[in-house]
């Protein structure tokens, strides 16, 4: 049998607002697909032939000799996934949906696919494939327990790497250190899609992920803020940095995700170790944590001071804080944009991205805004951080969108990156 894995396309900032291309003096970067398909391909027996299509690179709705079409997608790609499922079903193919959106919205997906996988795919994949062979596919599969990460093989990132073209050559690919999170932050889906059980890959597995990328000349991006959490998490991260340093092969990590509270909570020695291991950039995510939620309200000088401290601590460690600002929180008002721009200028941030608060299905924010009847747009392709899909509290949806565009325009106005090397003048937007 043959499986076609499909990664449906979605619209990014510059596709939703093409004027950004004129305002942002940086190269636009199309990143790697998320790891879902690589992870599922890794646990697919060799008896199955595998094909992979990245719908962002060329439309996936082309004829195929595959028997099964398996999709992995998150909310921004959901509308396109449903469209593609209809195409392949019309060709008589069996279709399977997995990933964050099918996990959080299985009822929406079920009419469009032959089967929906809810939660982590690996625990149920053997059953799905067995049912496919016997033509007895169930409508829904859900793992009874969290996947033991120590049992997993390395993800098949070769499927992604083999799709590179002259126009699509990411210099980094995602690497996973852990899955799950015991916290329940209002805008995060992780504890609900990957369970509240925080589990770690072994350091050997993580180094294995890094090495298979390094062999192809690629670096790793680590997006999880959970890596910096105290206890076992930060111990693992420290161990990873030490292994990288001991191997004498730094610069294997392009960036690592973090939030301001985690920078503030991290010891200076830990940040120095990260730098020594070749981490030159943080992807500093804001808008979800109490520091950045308070800093731009104009009423919380302590949080503003702490935000400055976090950026300074990062810069002092020699790690560039590529900062993501989020507009549209319930405390944001018409002065927030000015306050964000002032902060960005005063703190010395040179690269930033700007996003509109988006209540992704399955998050506590989605549940709360649904209850308050403030969500007015259910076109999933608009759930991409570049559109306002709900009624903000202190601003109108139009004001939030205009503010978001102003942030992009004014932050980058007059900035010149021509002396930076290619990697430094490239961002995903």
């Amino acid at each position: 049998m043959k499986i076609l894995f499909v990664y449906p396309r979605f619209s990014r900032h510059a596709e939703a607002h093409p004027e950004l291309r004129a305002w942002v003096p940086l190269n636009e970067y199309l990143g790697s697909p998320s790891l879902g398909i690589a992870a599922m391909a890794a646990v697919t027996p060799d008896s199955f032939e595998i094909e992979f299509r990245d719908d962002r690179l060329s439309p996936a709705d082309r004829p195929t000799d595959a028997d099964i079409v398996a999709f992995s997608f998150f909310t921004p790609a959901a509308s396109r996934a449903l469209e593609l499922a209809a195409y392949f079903r019309a060709l008589g193919k069996q279709t399977i949906a997995g990933g964050i959106f099918p996990t959080m919205m299985p009822d929406v997906c079920e009419p469009h696919f032959d089967a929906v996988v809810v939660g982590e795919g690996e625990p149920v994949w053997a059953q799905v494939l067995s049912d496919l062979r016997s033509r007895a596919l169930q409508r829904r599969y859900k793992a009874g327990q969290s996947q033991r990460l120590t049992d997993l093989p390395l993800p098949r990132v070769d499927l992604y790497l083999n799709k590179e073209t002259g126009h699509f050559q990411p210099d980094d690919y995602p690497v996973q250190l852990s899955r799950g999170c015991p916290l329940t932050c209002q805008a995060c889906v992780l504890p609900f899609s990957m369970t509240r059980s925080l589990r770690h890959f072994s350091i050997d597995h993580v180094v294995g992920q890094l090495e298979q990328l390094a062999k192809r000349g690629k670096r790793a991006c680590l997006t999880e803020d959970t890596s910096w959490f105290p206890g076992e998490n930060v111990k693992q991260l420290r161990l990873l940095f030490e292994r990288i340093i001991a191997r004498g092969a730094p610069a294997t990590i392009s960036y690592i995700g973090i939030s301001m509270p985690m920078i503030l909570a991290s010891s200076t020695s830990m940040l120095e170790l990260a730098k020594q291991a070749g981490v030159d950039m943080f992807y500093l995510v804001g808008g979800f944590d109490p520091v950045t939620r308070g800093a731009f309200t104009g009423k919380d000088p302590k949080s503003l001071a702490r935000a400055h401290d976090a950026v300074k601590k990062s810069l002092d460690a020699g790690i560039e804080p590529y900062t993501s600002f989020l507009l549209g929180n319930d405390t944001d008002d018409e002065g927030t944009v000015d306050r964000m721009l002032e902060f960005a200028a005063a703190s010395g941030i040179t690269k930033a991205e700007f996003a509109i608060f988006t209540p992704y299905p399955g998050t506590p924010a989605w549940t709360r805004l649904e209850k308050e009847e403030r969500i007015f747009d259910r076109e999933w392709s608009h759930y991409n951080d570049a559109n306002c899909v709900f009624e903000p509290r202190l601003m109108s949806a139009d004001e939030v969108t205009r503010g978001y565009l102003r942030l992009w325009r004014e932050f980058y106005a007059g900035k010149d990156f021509s002396t930076h090397d290619v990697a430094e003048r490239t961002i995903q937007f």
Partner: protein
Amino acid sequence: MTDDLLTQRIFSMMAELSTVRAPDIRLEHRLREDLGLDSVCSMELLSMLAEEFELDVPMEEAAQVTTVAGTVAMAQRHLALKERAVS
């Protein structure tokens, strides 16, 4: 370290993260509702405890704590465990 000193130190840490001043923090305060400390703040607080007292508190345990008194009790418990391990 005495229990009083530990409690005062934890109040100071909480005040760094909260809009409530250390002298106004009470043991019966709830972290989220009274001090405005959400789950990310709890992680930061846990990191501060780990750093200052070299405690190794599992995140899952810390995530269950909802009050100031619970935080102090958790720190006391782990300090005692640490002392026992050393002796």
